[in-house]
């Protein structure tokens, strides 16, 4: 599909779905059940607010969302206590599918949500959003509820970077601009109109989620886009402008780790799709440097971007969902 045409036809603004009553009417007509999943790790500062706003505005006031779940990676602060006290269903990631090998990462929580939650559509929202608003959910659900062919809706923002003494009006998305977008431009040009491929907010139909593998680390968003593009094409995507998202700003060194994980997931797909062939990575060690007095020191960080198989391959899932034969 022509990127300009896609951009024009599949890009929305959250204000187009502000009439939530209509959205609920259409949701009921189509018989959808909608789950909201918030993956967490030490998010006590923001989690309470997110749950209160989503529960009050999107469950109590209008029944757009049917369940709100927090899937936690083992927070050591009060994240789970706060989330539970404000009425979210709280799960420790390791308690879900306890018999499979334990892994830790945001992608792991997202993957386990497919097993644990009941929705026909799952909305994933990061827990570190400081300016949370119901638009983060209804803006993503709109295209999925109104258009049957849309499978996956991604958020994009005018991203400010938050600092202790104020908010800068623009910036952010550094890994997107210097890594992911150039890679997409080289290898998957059709995916380039997705404005913020790494945003952690998206809504997806279960029938898609259960059929794609999940990197458990930084590569989860990038690999989703590539995998869904391969299976369902650009028609399956839409994106919604959610205006601003205020979040913690990450140091450049952490962005390096993120880029390292994304590259692993990306190259695996290039190879699987016969675009670039390689045997295996030379190493999974990211080397960063720091100066100590007049000497430079190497910091070695082991980052292996492991992947979970499509959920439909897990027997417990098929049993829970009453799927008799492995597809």
């Amino acid at each position: 599909m022509n990127p300009d045409k896609w951009l024009k036809e599949n890009t929305y603004h959250h204000s187009e779905f502000v009439n939530i009553a209509d959205l609920v009417k259409e949701k009921k007509k189509k018989g959808y059940k909608i789950s909201l999943c918030i993956p967490t790790l030490n998010e006590e500062k923001t989690i309470g607010k997110e749950i209160i706003i989503f529960k009050s505005e999107l469950m109590n006031r209008v029944p757009l969302v049917d369940e709100i779940a927090v899937i936690d990676s083992g927070s050591t602060d009060k994240t789970r206590e706060i989330a539970s006290s404000y009425g979210a269903d709280v799960y420790l990631s390791t308690d879900i599918l306890p018999d499979i090998e334990k892994k830790k990462g945001k992608g792991e929580n997202l993957w386990k949500a497919i097993y644990q939650l009941d929705g026909d559509i799952i909305v994933y929202i990061d827990a570190d959003i400081k300016n949370i608003h119901p638009r983060f959910v209804y803006g993503l659900l709109g295209p999925l509820i109104y258009r049957d062919e849309v499978m996956y809706v991604k958020a994009f923002y005018d991203r400010p970077l938050a600092f202790s003494d104020g908010i800068r009006p623009t910036g952010g998305g550094r890994v997107t601009e210097i890594l992911v977008r150039p890679l997409f431009s080289l290898f998957y040009p059709e995916l380039t109109p997705i404005i913020q491929p790494l945003s952690g907010e998206y809504a997806v139909r279960r029938e898609v989620l259960e059929k794609i593998p999940f990197p458990i680390g930084y590569g989860v968003e990038t690999s989703h886009l590539i995998d869904i593009y391969h299976k369902w094409g650009m028609e399956a995507f839409a994106q919604t402008d959610l205006d601003q998202r205020v979040h913690r700003n990450q140091p450049t060194r952490d962005l390096g780790k993120m880029a390292f994980g994304i590259l692993q997931a990306f190259f695996k797909r290039l190879s699987a799709h016969d675009i670039v062939k390689y045997k295996e990575f030379e190493s999974n060690i990211l080397r960063q440097f720091q100066a100590h007095d007049n000497k430079f020191e190497v910091i070695e960080i082991h980052i292996k971007e492991e992947e979970r198989p499509p959920m439909i391959d897990i027997p417990e899932y098929r049993e829970k969902r009453g799927i008799k034969i492995k597809p």
Partner: protein, 390 residues
């Protein structure tokens, strides 16, 4: 309030706790969303828009704003004529560019101007739902108002404009403060909010004797003001609020503003102090050949309703019945605008809280139910009482 009336009101509120539990999340989500909309005085429009949406959703009638940018809606009563005004200020003293993020903990909400006065506004937004769920209908119209231009130079502009121009005769006013549950204000302090402005004239000769700049001059004025004898009775104070001046180490400050408030239980004392300070300013100005002026940017007249007024006895009775410890404090908030035009009014707090740091306040969620129960009880008592116009 008679025992019989009190018992009837408390009986009407018997289901309050489970009802509040049902809509507690609505209160908290409104509190968070209101707090996160910046609304410095004179720039309250976005917050007004939010409140009007909430009023419309609650099916209030006459949902509207006015020339001063107040947010208004009416929960209609069953009888024509009487109106009770519930008001909370919309504006804050937090700058537009400050981080307005709110954090919700296990029992607290923390953020800019959460206590003063997003709690009051959130309380107003859920009143229609509380009355509906409790099955209570009022005789009087309940006018719900987020008042604009209240703080600082706004000087209660929004409420004064409404009270001056409304065609709805107001039986009584109830002003809501976010913090200090149990505090009752029925008297307004006399207050004058002033600015002393230092400007160096363009032709000022820096070789002149003294050659001092704005900071030294304003400091001298502060010292002179502090030498004025302040009486203990009537209770009076001069409080210095802020001083702005200077640009660099190497430059003599050529401009400066000193902001302060005179407060007193006596109007004469406020005026006398104003004249004394004006004299000091004039003397300093002429001594150094510089331009120092004093402007009055806000004013409240002292006054109030008696402690024995049925409005006050009612609120005390209700708080006592709810085991809330009461204190009485004079105020300079919205109450003054009612007092000035002879409308009985009272200010009550909705919960407890504290100032955390320069930009953040923290309120306790637990006591909110007691604050709202008091508010509902007070509204019922006003609705059912006849007030002596004298």
């Amino acid at each position: 309030m008679t025992e019989e009336k009190k018992a009837k009101i408390l009986a009407d509120l018997i289901d309050f706790d489970p009802v509040f539990l049902e809509i507690k999340e609505l209160f908290l989500s409104n509190l968070v969303m209101i707090s996160e909309i910046p609304a410095p005085t004179f720039e309250e429009q976005e917050r007004v828009g939010f409140l009007l949406n909430k009023f419309s959703e609650a099916n209030l009638i006459n949902t509207s704003t006015d020339e001063y940018g107040n947010a208004l809606g009416i929960l209609p009563g069953t009888e024509e004529g009487e109106n009770i005004l519930i008001v909370s200020n919309i504006d804050t003293s937090v700058d537009f560019t400050a981080d307005h993020s709110v954090s919700v903990g296990p029992g607290t909400v923390t953020g800019p101007a959460v206590g003063n006065n997003a709690v009051g506004l959130a309380a107003i937004t859920i009143l229609p739902a509380l009355f509906e769920k409790l099955g209570i209908t009022l005789k009087s119209n309940l006018i719900l108002m987020g008042s604009s231009r209240s703080l600082g130079k706004g000087s209660l502009g929004g409420l004064r404009f409404f009270l001056k121009n409304t065609r709805h005769p107001i039986k009584a006013g109830i002003c809501l403060e976010g913090m200090n549950l149990g505090e009752i204000s029925h008297r307004s302090l006399g207050m004058m909010r002033c600015e002393i402005i230092y400007n160096t004239p363009d032709n000022f000769d820096w070789r002149m004797f003294g050659r001092i700049g704005a900071i030294e001059t304003l400091s001298e004025i502060i010292s002179r003001i502090r030498e004025i004898p302040i009486p203990g009775k009537p209770r009076t104070s001069v409080s210095f609020a802020s001083i702005e001046s200077g640009t660099a180490y190497s430059l003599v400050a050529s401009e400066g503003i000193l902001r302060f408030e005179i407060r007193s239980e006596s109007e004469e004392m406020v005026i006398m102090l104003k004249h004394e300070i004006q004299n000091i300013v004039a003397e300093v100005s002429s001594s150094y050949g510089i331009e120092v002026t004093m402007d009055v940017v806000g004013q409240r007249n002292p006054g109030g309703i008696p402690f024995t007024h049925p409005l006050i006895t009612s609120v005390r009775d209700i708080m006592e019945a709810l085991d809330i410890k009461t204190t009485v404090q004079p105020t300079t908030n919205e109450l003054s605008a009612f007092i000035d035009i002879g409308i009985p009014a009272v200010t009550i707090g909705i919960t407890n809280g504290s100032i955390k740091d320069k930009n953040n306040e923290e309120i306790e969620i637990g006591p909110v139910s007691q604050g709202l129960k008091t508010l509902l009880g007070l509204i019922l008592s006003v609705d059912r009482e006849e007030y002596d116009e004298s």
